[in-house]
Each structure stands twice: as C-alpha cells, then as structure tokens.
Symmetry: C2
Subunit: 140 residues, 2 copies
C-alpha cells in the first residue's frame, strides 16, 4: 500500500507485493473471502486485532486498487458493505496455495490443534466462495 506509485519494478511478484504485500491486507481479504464478513465492525473482530485507523487505510487502498468495492446500504446510510470485486475474488487460488503451504509447514514451528480447526473453517469458506463465483458466472 502507501507507495503504490511509483512502483519499484515491473516484476509480477513485485506488483503483487505492492497490491497486498503487507501484514494486514491479506487478512482482510481472507475475512471477506472465507469468513463471510462484510462490515467494518465485522472486520475488526479478527483474532489479529487490527486497529481502526489501519483498517480504514487498508480498505481505502484495496478499493483504490480495485480489489474490493464499497457500497453504502440503501436502508441504512451509515452502513457500508465491503465485498471482493472480480479482481479480488481472483485471488482465491493464491489464498488456497498459501493455506496449503502453511498446512504443510506450520508444524515446523508449533503443533496446531486450533490451526487445523481454522483450516477446516477456511475449507468451508472455500466452498462458499466457489459457489459464489459459480453463481457469478450464471449472471448475464
């Protein structure tokens, strides 16, 4: 974030890093993608405890790079719904590979009963996500 432009290089890996290569952005994407969160308050409740100013900043960056969209609720003006755009949903394969890599190697540092539980939750989210993409394709 922040230093979106100018880019340090035109490398694809570097482009990705400049899009979501910080300690928080991918966690927000995770929550939108797998944990069915869509409001500011819901995003605040993650175990990693993001603070309000950082969340505001990252949501703006993500919107600026076209990874999420923000919609004001019709019924409640002071309520917003955040959701992944097509570009954001397209991060799914990356998220899956990362999850699987961690599943393969997390044991190196600790034994994670809770982690396996988490992974199961993520898998449930993946199904939800894939269904959403499928639904999306059914639209005109």
């Amino acid at each position: 974030m922040a230093d979106q432009y100018p880019s340090r290089s035109d490398c694809p890996i570097n482009y990705a890093l400049e899009s979501f290569g910080d300690k928080w952005t991918l966690l927000i994407i995770r929550d939108l993608m797998f944990n069915a969160k869509q409001s500011f308050g819901e995003l605040l409740t993650s175990p990693e405890k993001i603070s309000t100013n950082i969340l505001t900043d990252r949501l703006k960056s993500l919107e600026a790079t076209g990874i999420i969209s923000r919609e004001v609720c019709a019924d409640n003006r002071s309520k917003c719904v955040y959701s992944l755009t097509a570009k954001g949903r397209d991060l799914l394969p990356i998220m899956l590979e990362i999850t699987q890599w961690s599943a393969r190697h997390y044991k190196d540092v600790s034994t994670p009963a809770a982690f396996l539980k988490r992974l199961d939750e993520d898998k449930a989210g993946v199904i939800r996500q894939i269904k959403a993409m499928w639904d999306d394709q059914q639209k005109p």
Copy 2:
C-alpha cells in the same frame, strides 16, 4: 519478519504472512527460484534495489524459518551459497499463482511491455525450477 514470535494468531494465512509477508522476502525467494541467483552480491542486483542491511536481515530470517539454507563455499571461505530448502521450493505454486494473478490484472494500472518480457523470463525460470524439483525426486 522480526516479530516471528509470538504469532498474532494460528491462522494459516497469518502464518504465511509472518514467514514472508513483507516487502522484500518474496523478491529474494523469486531471485533464488526463478533467476538462478545464489550469492549475496547477485541478490543485491535486483531492480528493486534492496540495501545490504535489509538483505542480511532477510537472509537470516529465511534461514531461521527453514526456507533457505546457507552454505560456505569449500574453495572460498568468504563466499556463501544460498539456496531454497524443500520448504522453500514448496513455495513454487504460490509464486506461480501470484505471477498469474499479476499477469491477469497488471494491465489495470499500466501497460507493461517490459512486464511481459519479465513474465517470459519467469516462465523460463519456472521450467528450470520444475526440472530441479524433478531431479530432486530422482535422488534416493
């Protein structure tokens, strides 16, 4: 890196972020994986211009988390060779997905003739890498 422990959460995405979720680590992995670099000096030459203190720090972190290994040259004591461990090579699918995501969306921000060239270079590297993994499997 830095804050390796304690971890913010036991989420797999968070584990990955704490392993390589900063602005530089993935670039080093890229160079080891796709660009056939293996020495400190070679790693310094990337277009993103990493500085020596940061490179030193990240190489140590990567070694600590078991993603790379460091070997002192037998013939030249003041020369080291850095290479990916199995855990590091296992990042290949993530790297490929990231590269492909960027290839699909980089146009959103600029038109990248040089980028396509880079991508071609990466593809060549991928072939090299896959061959290396294959060779690895042939060993006892």
